[in-house]
């Protein structure tokens, strides 16, 4: 049998969503294994199970041929499995070296921890990653991509036999990516199995020895590097490829600006001096890497985040600074994280959809009238629900998102802002959401779409704005630009 790690028949559900169904994965020492798949295909969930972060509902994990249970991150580390997750898990107000060795610092002298030796060992690892920083520097003062590298340094500080990297490159610049890949290759030589998730096709083709493709939580195919090229991957990852003809042709001439943003600066410094406008009936895409300040920017527009300077105008009149006045002026936001920011989990579809309908004070809600409104949205958007009183969490991700979009539209917005609107949404629903947005724009609504997926940005936008490190780095006409130009602007390459 294998001397590596094997996952067999892994299944996991989150409420109504079957995230994984009977997925198998085999990892051999000294290979780089890419798990490919669209958003919501279950890649991250699979990695989290192997990393001990979440428990599978069913399935077995074998380490060197023996079955083991992974109940915690600690368990996973015991068997040599270390995970570097998408979300950073550093202690922000501790130093770099402290973070690297947190919980397993072996540098000791007779008084306790030997900090000099800790720093020395941290520097060794950081050098392998090709970064030179003071190991005592507080992690919170580092830019996000360097924090990511500290996280990887921490993983390297263990005796790791299986390293799990969940989108390690999403916030890195090209030279940092190549430094990281050099380390990955080194680890491969040392006999470590590296599992990689990345959205960038060129990266996975460059470094991987083996590929496994997931779609909608199911195992689709697996192959050695030799049998794989771009088309092989796309054919398996995507069920229905979006058609070129679906794109809109938008003529901006003579359209007035609906949303105008002038010199907007975040109080906490996530972005600064942002100015742009969105015209009537236009779909503007806002591209950029994670941590570029896009979510913070749109949350400020919606009045749930504080600014230190700048103004926001809707049809020429200034918008107030809290969420109620923003909504009243016509700014509606579909936020990036459904579970944390937009749905109220324990509430029904009806309550969630009608949440922006207010008559303050103790006023009666007419159940009949509300159900009639809900029925029209359910029909219009094809929302699949057992009824208006079903809990929102019983719906699939795509249907939940449609409910949130309907809630926003119910307020008659002048501009609809969507932040990562198709994250965790299956492909069918994704296409439906795109269709909904196009129809809305055709009817004259202005739309701002924030997305980390370049494909999505190109699929839907008429004009593309790009953010990098808190600043607008480019404004591009979709029909006159290409993906390489957007990626360059997003990663800060001039």
């Amino acid at each position: 049998m294998t001397s590596g790690v094997e996952m067999r028949q892994i299944s996991k559900r989150f409420d109504a969503v079957q995230a994984l169904a009977d997925v198998n994965l085999e990892l051999h020492p000294g290979e780089v294994h890419t798990i490919a798949g669209e958003n919501g295909s279950g890649k991250s969930t699979l990695l989290k199970i192997l990393g001990g972060v979440i428990k599978p509902d069913e399935g077995q994990i074998f380490v060197a041929g023996e079955e083991k249970t992974f109940n915690s991150v600690r368990d996973a580390m015991k068997y040599g499995v270390t995970m570097v997750s998408q979300e950073l898990s550093l202690v922000p107000n501790l130093g770099i070296a402290e973070n690297v060795f947190i919980g397993h610092n072996q540098s000791k002298n007779k008084f306790g921890i030997d900090w000099k030796d800790t720093d020395r060992r941290a520097l060794e690892i950081l050098k392998r990653l090709n970064i030179s920083v003071d190991p005592r520097r507080e992690v919170s003062t580092l830019p996000q991509h360097e924090q990511q590298l500290v996280e990887i340094a921490r993983a390297l500080s263990f005796d790791t036999r299986v390293l799990l990297l969940d989108e390690p490159t999403s916030s890195l610049a090209p030279n940092e990516v190549s430094a990281l890949f050099k380390v990955v290759k080194q680890l491969r030589e040392d006999g470590v199995a590296v599992v990689l998730i990345t959205h960038r096709m060129s990266e996975m083709l460059e470094i991987s020895d083996r590929f496994t493709v997931l779609r909608d939580g199911k195992f689709i195919d697996s192959s050695d590097r030799a049998g794989v090229n771009e088309n092989w991957l796309i054919d398996r990852m995507v069920l229905n490829k979006p058609k070129e003809s679906a794109r809109r042709h938008f003529d901006s001439s003579g359209r007035k600006a609906v949303l105008e943003v002038k010199g907007l600066t975040d109080r906490a410094g996530a972005y600064s001096d942002i100015s742009f406008e969105v015209r009537e009936g236009e779909i503007v895409g806002l591209a950029g890497l994670a941590g570029a300040g896009r979510t913070e920017l749109v949350e400020t527009l919606a009045g749930v985040r504080q600014r230190s300077a700048g103004n926001i105008f809707i049809n020429g009149s200034e918008v107030g600074k809290n969420s109620r006045t923003a909504l009243k002026s016509g700014i509606a936001l579909v936020p990036d994280d459904r579970r944390e920011k937009s749905t109220i989990h324990e509430m029904s579809v009806r309550d969630n959809l009608m949440l922006s309908q207010h008559k303050f004070e103790i006023r009666h809600r007419s159940k009949k009238a509300e159900e009639k409104i809900i029925k029209t949205w359910v029909e219009k958007f094809g929302i699949k629900t057992s009824g208006p009183d079903a809990l929102i969490k019983s719906l699939s991700g795509g249907n939940q998102q449609k409910v949130v979009i309907a809630r926003c539209l119910q307020t008659n917005p002048k501009i609809l802002i969507l932040d990562e609107a198709t994250r965790g949404v299956d492909l069918g629903a994704k296409a439906e959401i795109y269709e909904i947005l196009r129809n809305l724009a055709d009817a004259g609504l202005s739309i701002l779409v924030v997305s980390s997926e370049i494909g999505e940005i190109f699929e839907i936008s008429d004009r593309i704005l790009v953010m990098h490190a808190g600043e607008l780095s480019a404004e591009l006409d979709r029909s006159k630009t290409n993906e390489a130009e957007v990626v360059a602007a997003a990663t800060g390459v001039k």
Binding site: R13, L327, I344, E346, I362
Partner: protein, 325 residues
Amino acid sequence: MKFRLPSLSTLPAWFGVLVLEVLLIIVMAITQPVFFSGSNLSNIVRSSAIPIVLGIGMTYTILTAGIDLSVGSVLAFSGILLSGIIEFMPRYLAVVVTIALVTMIVGGINGTLIGRLGLNSFVVTLGTLGIFRGIAYLVTNGTTRSIDTGPLINKIGDGNIGPIPGPLFVVVILAGISIYILRSTYFGRDVYAVGGNEFAAKLAGIYTSRVKMNVYVISAFCAGLAGIMQVGRLSSAAPTAGAGLELTVVAGVLLGGTRLSGGVGSIWGTVIGLLFLQTVSNSLTIQGVSSYWQQVVTGVLLGAAVLFDRIRLELSGRAKSKEKK
């Protein structure tokens, strides 16, 4: 024909407590005939009324993911305030003025600090718990004041209205109004929304700070009313009244399935939870068990209820996973 039990997850969280309550009543009725006498049953109802009134207010605050620890002290403060003003005006007016003042003063302080300024509810109400208990002692110099209650105050605290115990009357009206508010009004929906996901509620345009402020005003109103009921029950106002009662009330609310993290819960649950605690306490007394044990039993029940709820959710989650396969 297949008969299927309703699944655990579709039953309300308080259903288990209701079953226990019924079982307890049956067992006690068989083993201790005294328990099932009319006077004992009405005694249970009367002694449950004040915790339930406080519990209704508490349910609002816990639903918004807050808590109001000041209710026991405010109950005492309300009684003392009544004793101070009752000589200067007609009794019914004194009742109205007392409740209005308590609502404005206590609700104003708790609501402004927690709702408007966003301070932590536990800390703020722990502060007001001390302040109003202290004031009650200061004003009375630690002594109990007897009050000539007259028929109105007596009726809502202890007496009968027709054949129905007065306190029961108050509870039914208050619970009925609250069930309506929480289920069928915009404000009620906002209370659940703020506790369920405050960010989402704010983003949807709900005036979250005002909702949070209002729940503390409602809780203060309930505590003020409970203070009057206590005076009616004892014909006196004591600065020690309701000491430690906030913990019983919180226990009953949680026993009734309201989640401490907010967003889930009901008035029904609170009524049943507190009624159950009172029945247990009454049963133990009848069995001749020391009152010290009653506190231990309350603690064990609370732990068991929370554990049971966890198991219930876990089981229903697993069942769902199997079903879809």
